[in-house]
């Protein structure tokens, strides 16, 4: 291991470490623009110059591996002078428009210029100007500000796997762009806004909205897919203005999908901000007292077995816990949190979570996708798969319609037939999985949300067990969820109890009149056109499909407006935190349910959220262990039976409209319009990388 001396401190680092990384280990900060630890090294901004003894010229530390005996000076006169020179060169063509630049206040160039800039310019010639580009509805461009660090190019080519940006032209005429004007077709494209060290790429929906120092920042988690990406919610004056990723190596690294980032403008549109009661076929505004009383009156009048509840995809665990407790007290057993009809089995936790873990994907060497399109169901998981693929020695196969995951995928079947073949063992991938050192399979909702889903679940377990996916030190059985509430709901046992009905049964019961009250907790992904004579209570935050068919609407809070517990697809319990208050008269969901319980005369045993959480922790201890993955006990799940040979259908047909929030978002609508010509799910041919 080479020994180096940096600013007088000795350090031993593994061979191959760059000078920059060695300096970081000592906590020495080196200015940089093009270097980013998650991207390939480019070494083109030259800002990270340091002096290395015996080297005639300053050295770009990000691209230079240490050598034994290096004596490195990061703060010497020579190094500082070199950086001053680089800064002066960068500022030759960079406009001094910080007062009107969206990056102002969080700009790397601005910050470094404070340390290495001059107080005036010696440049007297014309500055160069670059024509604006159109990268679609999400990323705004001001290419005159670009300093050609190429982070955006490298991100799209390597991490997102959509090589659409490049540097065309040469020298002073070099421009970053797509050459042929087009919208960036990656579902991770928003990350290049964060990566851009200057104001060349900024957020289009957030353009000229706020300055970073005006914002109140709340650390939370995203719920628009089941990844549980860690986010920071920035708000001002009670309004959410933007969402940024937060670092979590185990989940989203530092990326988030475009939906997580940009769907937030849907949080102020189509909101339910006061209770509504249906009178003469029309929803009319009412007050909380009459709404709660009506709910209680109806619930009192009906025996428990005629009450049913469905929890939606964006529900926090607390509200589902409260609803289960409330309706359980009334004797209702028809509860379900699987509104897409997925035949998930709540009895055995490893049977419904992503056991390998998202970070664990990097240790796998073969992956079989069954009825899932991770790119559109969980873009961050797909980025992890791609990251693993780029390291080499990783085979990926998919059962289902053709896919474009940005990396090569072997298509080894269309649907149930291939799954049956795998169980029998006469499928080439049975031996591939057996031979692999760390094989994994990912079971998607496309395979589970069909009538024979339970049988496919059983088959997947059989494949996992016979092909050696389940070992003491490795669990390669994974379920990839689409809904943020799903694992939490299954953990809480928000599934039909003895004699209870599942989603299909509940809806059939509504039509036949056997179910008299249907309580929808944010459930919008259902076909509610015919609910018979059932009294439908919708509690949620958006005037979407659920509210449209409800007889009583109770306005709840969205994920940014309440403290809530969410469990991601790995089974990782994470806390979302309130960034703003719910609009109008809307209330936090657990509190609404607590109020109904009081009106029923069977008050739930908690008056505050911490009390609720204490109760939840007693009955479901796992949900109190935040940010930890608890090992589950492998067991039996699924049902034996025949599997229909039909092809799988992926659950996400439109990435930009998967839930009530993204459907209400104008930005997402624009994305849909932009990419409608090129459907996101259509397989693309040729050289899309």
């Amino acid at each position: 291991m080479p020994k180096v001396t940096i600013d007088g401190q000795e350090l031993e680092v593994p061979a191959g470490t760059t000078i920059f990384q060695a300096c970081q280990q000592l906590g020495i900060e080196i200015p940089h623009f093009c270097y980013h630890e998650r991207l390939l090294i480019a070494g083109n901004c030259r800002m990270c110059l340091v002096e290395v003894e015996k080297s005639p010229k300053p050295v770009a530390s990000c691209a230079m591996p240490v050598a034994d005996g290096n004596v490195i000076l990061t703060q010497s006169e020579k190094a500082k002078k070199a950086r001053h020179g680089v800064m002066e060169m960068l500022l030759i063509n960079h406009p001094l428009d910080c007062p009107i630049c969206d990056q102002g206040g969080e700009c790397d160039l601005q910050d470094e210029a404070m340390a290495y800039g001059f107080d005036r310019s010696r440049y007297r010639e014309n500055k160069r100007a670059v024509p604006e580009k159109d990268f679609g509805p999400l990323v705004a461009t001001h290419m005159t500000r670009c300093i050609h660090c190429t982070r955006c190019i490298r991100f799209l080519a390597d991490v997102a796997g959509v090589p659409e940006l490049g540097g065309t032209g040469r020298g002073e005429d070099m421009e970053i762009g797509t050459y042929i004007e087009r919208a960036l077709s990656s579902e991770l494209s928003g990350n290049i806004i964060d990566l851009c060290p200057v104001g060349a790429l900024t957020s289009k929906p957030y353009a000229f909205v706020a300055r970073p120092w005006e914002l109140r920042k709340t650390e939370s988690v995203d719920v628009l897919d089941a990844v549980g990406s860690n986010i920071r919610v920035d708000a001002r004056d009670g309004r959410i203005l933007r969402v940024l990723p937060r670092l979590n190596e185990a989940v989203n690294e530092e990326w988030i999908s475009d939906k997580s980032r940009f769907a937030i403008d849907g949080l102020v549109r189509k909101r339910l901000d006061r209770p509504y009661i249906r009178r003469n076929g029309r929803l009319v505004e009412t007050d909380w007292r009459s709404a709660i009383e009506l709910a209680a009156e109806r619930l009192k009048a009906v025996p428990g077995e005629r009450i049913a509840a469905i929890a939606g995809d964006l529900c926090d665990a607390e509200s589902m816990f409260a609803l289960k407790l409330l309706l359980g007290g009334l004797g209702a057993a028809s509860l379900d949190c699987r509104q897409d009809g997925a035949r998930l089995d709540a009895r055995c936790r490893p049977g419904y979570v992503f056991n390998t873990t998202i970070a664990g994907i990097e240790n796998a060497d073969a992956c079989l996708l069954i009825g899932t399109d991770p790119r559109h169901e969980a873009a961050i998981v797909n980025a992890r798969l791609r990251k693993r693929y780029l390291r080499g020695g990783f085979r990926v196969a998919a059962i289902g319609p053709a896919l474009d995951l940005t990396f090569p995928v072997e298509q080894v079947g269309e649907g149930g037939e291939a799954v049956s073949a795998l169980v029998r063992g006469d499928h080439e991938w049975a031996s591939v999985l057996e031979a692999a050192k760390a094989p994994m399979l990912v079971l998607g909702q496309g395979a589970l949300a069909r009538p024979d889903g339970a049988q496919i679940l059983w088959a997947a377990r059989a494949i996992a067990e016979t092909c050696g996916l389940i070992r003491p030190e490795w669990n390669g059985f994974n379920v990839l969820h689409r809904a943020a509430a799903r694992v939490g709901g299954l953990d809480l046992g928000f599934v039909p109890g003895p004699g209870g009905r599942d989603v299909a049964g509940i809806l059939a019961g509504c039509r036949s009149g056997e179910t008299e009250i249907l309580y929808l907790l944010g459930a919008d992904e259902l076909d509610l056109t015919d609910t018979g004579s059932a009294f439908v209570i919708y509690q949620g935050h958006h005037g979407d499909r659920g509210a449209a068919h409800a007889d009583l609407v109770l306005p709840g809070a969205a994920y940014t407006e309440k403290d809530g517990t969410y469990v991601n697809t790995e089974g990782r319990v994470q806390l979302a935190r309130r960034a703003v208050f719910p609009p109008g008269e809307a209330r936090e969901d657990w509190a609404i349910l607590r109020a109904i319980s009081a009106a029923l005369g069977r008050a739930l045993p908690f008056d505050t959220l911490p009390e609720l959480r204490r109760h939840m922790a007693v009955s479901h201890p796992g949900l109190a262990e935040t940010d930890e993955l608890l090992p589950g006990v492998w067991g039996g799940f699924g049902e034996v039976g025949t599997i229909a040979p039909a092809a799988f259908a992926y659950p996400v047909t439109d990435f930009y409209a998967t839930d009530a929030i993204s459907r209400a978002s104008p930005t997402m609508a624009e994305c849909r319009e932009t990419f409608a010509r090129e459907p996101a799910t259509a397989p693309r041919t040729g050289t899309h990388g």
Partner: protein, 227 residues
Amino acid sequence: MSEPVSGPPFEQPADFEFTAENLERAKAHIAKYPPGRQASAVLPLLDLAQRQSGGWLPRAAMDRVAAILDMAPIRVYEVSTFYTMFNLRPVGRYLLQACTTTPCWLRGSEAVVAACKRKLGIGIGETTADGLFTLIEVECLGGCVNAPILQVNDDFYEDLDGAATERLLDALKSGTVPPKGSATGRGGSAPFKGKTALTEPPDAAVAAGWTRNPPGAEKQGEKEDAG
């Protein structure tokens, strides 16, 4: 050449396909590189495509090359916009590249450029209405000993002055391509006023005894090293 956005509008052909002959050549180029490294053949393939398309590189040709080499199209655009010898707009049958870098300028390149402009009635970067000539200004062509230089397609015309340039353009216009090389008729970069050295064949004995390292030279070298 610069971006295809400047200059008069022109039509991009809808598609491009290599001729059978050029496809063979392309395959030969690709075969020079190890499997999986076929992208290395991007320069020769773009050159083939440009020659086939009449001296310029349509976008469809770049896309075709990208598809053949299994590259993202943007990676090909990056290459073709970087190298100035790829023309991204249509050019005339004769692409006149006038060198105006210092040595050519000292030797009268201004007269060459002026002659082109006068004779053809076009400015730098323009194409004649008949589509025969495109005039561009280029940096050093590496032929300084025969300055000034005008490159016509692949060939250098050297030692030009205004009159010689006009004669050259007249010939090209009439359909004949004059022999490339010096306009004054000198061979290579021989002196204008005839040879001043090596005017007769060297002595046969000297020629026979001459080697690259005459005896003693090595010793001398060693001494220098030691010193």
